[in-house]
Symmetry: none
Subunit: 197 residues, 4 copies
DNA sequence: TAGTAATCGAGACGGTACGTCGGGTCTTTGT
DNA sequence: ACAAAGACCCGACGTACCGTCTCGATTACTA
């Protein structure tokens, strides 16, 4: 902006990285302690020892704050590429289960999804940041399985992924108490031995 | 109930059924029009031509009002008993898809589920009023299918139901745009022709 | 009323005199116990064992109810005509002190006067029912005093009355703690021995 | 207070004096226009262009707001010390008449006094802020009059003050239409020429 | 004796104001 | 320029009370 190289002209006091982190940490803490309903921005500010406007300077809204704070907790680990279709899918499924089982997940996921209708931007974020990488890794594993004959040729990859994600979502977050013992194993069994056209 | 004596002596002005209905109708209308975030109890009162206190007399809170108003929309039609396993399950799945596809469902389900953590009463309502009857009807259809040989003997009924519900939930409510064409058909195919142990 | 023309056809259930009395009694009780601010019509109804509409059937508003209930407490006993100017005035002043000292008076008088501005009807009631008879009796006593030479000829009767009423009002109702010992005596002394032109 | 250091470090946005003033002004306006009964905190907020919470941040209740807004209108100008007993008392009496004649006075005084019974804090405020200074100035004038022989030695100062205040109160606020022409003059005549023991 | 009509207790109703709470913006002083 | 502090506007929340309205039940006078 100013002369040349100093692209970001960097005038005035620089952003305090510690504040930034403190806010995100306080957000997660508060979310875990009091839940979304009693979660307030003022509460975060107080706990982080930060002014409220500092929060709003960096995050446009309460929801955005929560989103960024919770993002690391909600990113799903990817399915690897080990050569074994069964193993790769299994790991992928386990990762999804682990991610949804995070105590933060229960507080955040539904609120986010609930606003998808209103705020299309959210859908974008939710999909692209949290589930899309996982979906791609799973799709890749499935494609590899099809290519090497482990899986039926005409397999509907998208449907399989939705089935896996949906079942896990249901078992972990919706029904009264999580039933996840051996869940990944059994779902992958179904995928590999079932006849999904 | 009816036979004996009207035990409740019915003193005082009776509850105005029209007001009651008007409130529930206005609740649904408003929910559909402006969504949960902009939904207001005062707005319901105005639209229903009703005093705000009449609403709070019968529903302890905004959420309770929404719950009761939305309940009929969210009850899932049951799987019938026609003799055909495939047909019964298919109808059951279609019913779930239809129920989740209601415009109200998107506004309400997540808000409700999101509070399940905080308010155990909600989980009870959600489960028992909305999904449990459907689950039972599906379980029955599956058991019949097992009994008459249409389905594998060791089938994990609960897992199948979670899989069906979860996949539908995912496709209708979570992913960017609903993909439900032929969904029931294909899921039931999977259940009947797959090898779920 | 009934005998003659029978104008009021007197059909239907006659008014229940006990309810009427119970309402007035409950009104006074409640006023004394909780004060005007916490006084509610519903509270009166409950205490009187009466329906709220029974109250509103006979009294147009909360204020009217209070007015009628409190009226007997607020009517000031009159100055007599004993032949002694001093004694008559003294009795009159004592009566005013007694009336204003009623526990109900403190609760009611100011509320009533405060609404005089808004509701001219109230001024009428207040003046004619409560203070006018007393003023007349005092005026008469003063006139007799002037006639028989006990009081100065040019005495401003209205001013004297306002002075008496005002001072008593002040001492009983306005200042922190009532100072009424010997008050009547001293005020009448002033009137008789002073030189009010 | 001022000299030393600004003990209160004055952090954060300072109170907006304009808002503060706007609220008090709007309170007086509204009180004058619609009277106490139709006076609304929300109405004040709207008229002052202020949020309701700003009002409640600084005044605990509707009554407190009215009290502070009306206080300047209700403070009575003091009796001076000119050397002339008659003149000093006369001015004092005129001030009381002027103060009670304020259009706000009628709206506020009774409401305040009516609550004296309930809220002792109010009595404190009413007495100390509004009438006590005036009473002291009148007492001083009377004492000076006694000292220099203008007034009888044994004069009951408190009684005279109550008499003056009470009569004025009565004439200005209680009786149907104010009769204040020459009132101060005549009351002071009475005090100076009367024989109050 | 049956009918008619006004009363009663109970309590639901529409409405209005209260005082509280939270979101997101703005304005100070300090660094 | 950015930070903490905290005041600001806005608008929804849930509560309380007013005065009105319906109920079923009661209690007289009328036919």
């Amino acid at each position: 902006m100013t002369s040349e190289a100093g692209s970001t002209s960097q005038r005035g006091r620089p952003r305090d990285a510690r504040s930034h982190q403190a806010v995100l940490a306080a957000t997660l803490d508060l979310l875990g302690e009091v839940g979304y309903r009693r979660f307030t921005v003022a509460g975060v500010a107080k706990r982080a020892g930060v002014g409220k406007s500092t929060i709003y300077r960096w995050w446009p809204s309460k929801l955005d704050l929560i989103l960024e704070a919770a993002a690391p907790q909600l990113e799903i680990g990817l399915a690897p590429n080990t050569g074994s279709t069964r193993h790769d899918l299994n790991i992928g499924a386990e990762q999804a289960i682990a991610s949804y089982s995070s105590p933060i997940a229960a507080q955040v996921i539904f609120v986010v999804i609930a606003d998808l209708e209103e705020d299309p931007r959210l859908r974008e974020i939710y999909q692209s940041k949290w589930v899309l990488p996982w979906r791609i890794s799973m799709a890749n594993a499935l494609e590899r399985g099809i290519a090497n004959g482990d899986l039926t040729k005409g397999l509907d990859v998208e449907l399989v992924i939705d089935m896996l994600a949906g079942t896990i979502f249901q078992r972990v977050l919706v029904i009264p108490e999580p039933m996840t013992d051996g869940l990944a194993q059994r779902l992958i069994d179904l995928v590999i031995r079932g006849k999904l056209l």
